[in-house]
Symmetry: D2
Subunit: 309 residues, 4 copies
Amino acid sequence: MPSLDFQRVLDEINAEIRPQLGAGGSVASYIPALARVPPAQFGIALRTIDDQEACAGDALTPFSIQSISKLVTLSLARQRMGDGLWQRIGREPSGSPFNSLVQLETEQGKPRNPFINAGAIAVADRLLTLFGAAAKADVLAMMCTLAGEAVAFDSEVAASEAGSGYRNFALANFMKSFGKLDNAVEAVLDLYFHQCSIAMSCVQLARAAGYLCRDGVHPWAPDVSLLTERQTRRINSLMLTCGTYDAAGEFAFRIGLPCKSGVGGGIVAVVPDRLTLAVWSPALDATGNSLLGMKALELFVAKTGLSVF
Amino acid sequence: MPSLDFQRVLDEINAEIRPQLGAGGSVASYIPALARVPPAQFGIALRTIDDQEACAGDALTPFSIQSISKLVTLSLARQRMGDGLWQRIGREPSGSPFNSLVQLETEQGKPRNPFINAGAIAVADRLLTLFGAAAKADVLAMMCTLAGEAVAFDSEVAASEAGSGYRNFALANFMKSFGKLDNAVEAVLDLYFHQCSIAMSCVQLARAAGYLCRDGVHPWAPDVSLLTERQTRRINSLMLTCGTYDAAGEFAFRIGLPCKSGVGGGIVAVVPDRLTLAVWSPALDATGNSLLGMKALELFVAKTGLSVF
Amino acid sequence: MPSLDFQRVLDEINAEIRPQLGAGGSVASYIPALARVPPAQFGIALRTIDDQEACAGDALTPFSIQSISKLVTLSLARQRMGDGLWQRIGREPSGSPFNSLVQLETEQGKPRNPFINAGAIAVADRLLTLFGAAAKADVLAMMCTLAGEAVAFDSEVAASEAGSGYRNFALANFMKSFGKLDNAVEAVLDLYFHQCSIAMSCVQLARAAGYLCRDGVHPWAPDVSLLTERQTRRINSLMLTCGTYDAAGEFAFRIGLPCKSGVGGGIVAVVPDRLTLAVWSPALDATGNSLLGMKALELFVAKTGLSVF
Amino acid sequence: MPSLDFQRVLDEINAEIRPQLGAGGSVASYIPALARVPPAQFGIALRTIDDQEACAGDALTPFSIQSISKLVTLSLARQRMGDGLWQRIGREPSGSPFNSLVQLETEQGKPRNPFINAGAIAVADRLLTLFGAAAKADVLAMMCTLAGEAVAFDSEVAASEAGSGYRNFALANFMKSFGKLDNAVEAVLDLYFHQCSIAMSCVQLARAAGYLCRDGVHPWAPDVSLLTERQTRRINSLMLTCGTYDAAGEFAFRIGLPCKSGVGGGIVAVVPDRLTLAVWSPALDATGNSLLGMKALELFVAKTGLSVF
């Protein structure tokens, strides 16, 4: 496999994307604390399995990772619970917007997959049962060790979500009505809103996701496996089929890499056995994914030829 | 129109229904306080427009009126708001179980009609805006004046619903997420759970619903109109098309009278310009309506020939 | 009950409606033969149980009765099959547009009620099984005896529907795939398209529907019962809850009479024990019901106080 | 990349699968000609990009390829129409069973993706417009050149589908009602039923699909590109997200390769830049995919470590 000059690639992408800043999409408005983020920002960073790093643009600016946190909570639950996790959560694309209650109703409160909101709330419930009052601290600790440095909850964002997250309250109460949550709705959502509020930069995210391109091996500790090779592949496959809300087919079609996006404008992508990549730009398209983040990923694939297909 | 000996009719119905007590259906189990009600009870009562009364069986036993309360809150909101009420609430049968979130989602948080749970919660929100902190007291006061005597909230039932009503919390938060509730979810549901908890007997309910067979005139004050003739007809029509959850078509087909049922096992029926009728038996069929209450209404129509069709 | 001067009432309605002709709605466009009907026409006619008649406007102009024919095929099937008819057809409002396939799918090919297209196609299948090759002639013969004079299929309209009725072909094939049609799709739809193509005037329709206000007694033969009193009441109740597509709740609310409409712009209404009424104006509202026909019915109820509620 | 002894791998898989023949699943019953296939058969074959071949079991027995034909019609349409193809067909997983009409209705007759039946019927309509009366012959000719030898329609199977394919008639008429098919329903379905009836063996299928692991290059003509590299990747991504009906998530999760299945019991899988693989066993699981075929693919991935993730 020919060596690629990744820093040059990211610089080129940054040069092509930056003139488009401010030209389309809109910042997530349903959470007041997110609505205030200036939209004209773009960052990109990657880290390879042999620890090369490259970055460009606003790659060091922290942002709210939001749904990208679902990767870490899923990995933590998977590590501790094994296949028992799948008794309450499915593995199929939803074919519906990310916060839909319809499928929950027709499927008796069992979420379609762990990356829609209902599924991530169910994962949070599992973590609360596993870790009790320490769950929030344990999720944050795992993120710190993955990032290789301290990261933190943004308590203003968490409070903002708790004060306006009526749809998540609806989802959680609906699952509770089907007997599919073991813990109190308020406690489950407190964990969920906190995990979503974690603030990280592209550089930190590219590092933290490193176990996903390393068959489960810890990004900073080559002799520690967080997940087995098979478990890791399966998380990558879930990212590809379900990681970007109702646009998973479009991402697979246009980009062809496992991706997980968040409404803060971040997207993490995995090139198995090669590298992990993080992009960020706050303005979202109609599907809730970063408009320029997705364009940057398309450029990356076109320039490098890296794709799973 | 020939005179009917209503007391004899109700005695006959009671004699036919009583042997069937305990033979089918089951008491509502999702609210602990309701699940404890002994199922083998049956009462029936009516009051005509010329103030004749008749009753039989357990007609004086108070029970939880539950959704029958939606008649009174709708009437109160209608009286104070006029047609503005219909901006947030539709008037079509739902074609779905009474607590479905699906239609709320496809119809942007606007409930199909005021008798499904979502619609009644929206009415409660309107009453809170109209009456503020006095709303609970005002609803109860209206029920007392209609019944002609004191009736009360059953605070144990209200607390039981608040502690287990996850689906109603889901519905209310979902509407709130669409911006369709003006007041806090907790306050709206507090009013809703209290109105549902009111305890009344068949005799009291038959009296209280009297304005619906009198073109809107107060059952105890012939010179006071609570609603206009047209408004009253329209509430009767809503009862016929939407008053009995997903069995409205079946009720119209088999009984042919405007009816409103509750999961406490009560059903109120209206013969316009003639009388109002209340039946009660706690065991419910699969649609959430009183199994023997519905049979009693069929007998009443067969024996008297009274039907709107 | 005071005597009403019905001719004066219909003249007043005609005078109020006629200036609004051409101002809104649009003629059904999906069937070419219907799309050519001049929209600025309005007729109204009624016939009482004591054989008084009144009419106004274009009451003698024949038009395509379309779905109003479902009343007669249902009555014919009901007469011959008894309650067995309800094994394949439900009795609940659909809560969905009249030609929806969604409920057919979730309910295994069983139509919600006999007045949505799927339900009427299922009724046509039953008639084919009962009458074989004579089914078309038998339906027409029943309509002629009800109208009291000869009426006919409009073969151009029937052919136009057969050539463009893709959605009805979809519905019929879908039911066939669930094993819910016994006869060939083409034969069932041939009967269905022919029954819909019958051309009649308001005067003829008001006469033909007369058995529905006479407890099932033939409109021209007082000693012949087509249906029992109970069967007749139940058809009236189905009209009220399901007779006007997805606007049944709105019709019940605003008009309060059992009605059956057709996309040709006709509507038949029943005042039980009093009269039957037919209105016609070709321009339809968004729900597929005659815009001015519905307004005319509202005026009729307001002027006469006749309503079932 | 270490060399793998593929013949040994397939022999092992055959040895493990064969004892399970007849133990579960059931042959597709809705097409009479398929219902007669003896279920206790299993074959597997592969061909690498450097033209190595291996096979085991019933790898030379021809079977009905059914939906696997959608790969070839999609590739042909894509080759001739470019991106215009996507105006009438989406690219998202459906989240619903493969023959659902529900999404067609909510999405105005636009199929979710080219691999559900509705989408493949829309592709057939495009091919009819492109090739006219020659379309059937052109599809078969492309399949022959891909297989490297003559293959044929099974006219008994095609007739069997035409005589019992009510749901496909429903789908096609439904799309036609939305104006989304340009050709006559009968002609479109004649092409569709014929493409599905093609009979091929595992060996032939593994060869024919070869362009999908060669970045679009013809499996027998290294200097002919059927599709560009990007187009080929995108078809592979569609296979992964949408190629196995409502079990695409499960396939991605457990197998991690682009796959396309058919109700004849065949499955084609692609290891990009390495090989194509075909398995066959007629008994299907509840999702309509070959029960033992899927198990065989899991064994293949476990034994070889080949997966895109």
